[in-house]
């Protein structure tokens, strides 16, 4: 019985450390990356792996403490797994709507960020002609 407790303590400690290291890596990416489209990567790691590991540790700890399965933390896990892609999608849509600047190394060429040449030439032409004496 004591061997079981020691083993479970090691498992819980491993999940806690792994989850917090994942959260730290995600937040470091959020703080250090160059443009918004890169920064969007970090929080997905936090909300799936980081908090997921911590909630698994909590499930194991309270199951051991109460002597029976306690699966209430799975609610938070499932909720975060469902809502994280939805909020990331809405954030990227709002960033594309605001036409945020991007790093040249960011790949892809979405049509929201493409500058249509016809409109710019049409806008520049009257300004150029108005500057003439």
């Amino acid at each position: 019985m004591i061997a079981l407790y020691t083993l479970m303590e090691g498992v819980i400690a491993f999940f806690l450390i792994a989850g917090s290291i994942f959260a730290l890596i995600g937040s470091l990416g959020l703080a250090r990356m160059k443009d918004f489209y890169m920064r969007l990567h970090g929080p997905s790691k936090i909300s799936t792996l980081g908090v997921g590991c911590v909630l698994l540790a909590s499930i194991a700890y309270f199951s051991l403490l109460n002597g029976g399965p306690s699966l209430q933390e799975l609610l938070i896990t499932i909720f975060l797994f469902i809502t994280a892609p939805v909020s990331a999608h809405l954030l990227s849509k709002s960033a594309l709507h605001q036409k945020l600047p991007r790093d040249p190394r960011t790949r892809g060429n979405p049509e929201e960020l493409q500058e249509d040449d016809d409109e710019t030439t049409l806008e520049e032409a009257p300004q150029g002609s108005s500057k003439l004496p």
Binding site: I12, L24, S27, G50, V51, S58, L80, S87, L90
Partner: protein, 89 residues
Amino acid sequence: MLDFALKISVALFAIAIVLNLYRVAVGPSLPDRILALDTMYVNSIALIVLFGIWLGHRTYFEAALLIAMLGFVSTVAVCKYLLRGDIIE
């Protein structure tokens, strides 16, 4: 061993929240700040769960669930406001 791991993970989550706070303060655009706030509420859920493990109590689970739901709703509301100029049309 569990006490030591708890202290280390609380410290790492606190550092993560400070980094998110830096992005909230500095972030050059509005979606950056919303993204940092979104990350901050996820991190605070983990901190509350860790606090519950520390005290050995189940009371803090409901607080974490409430923060998860309200944080998601607020993120969606602010994003809809940025996209459409209105939340409920």
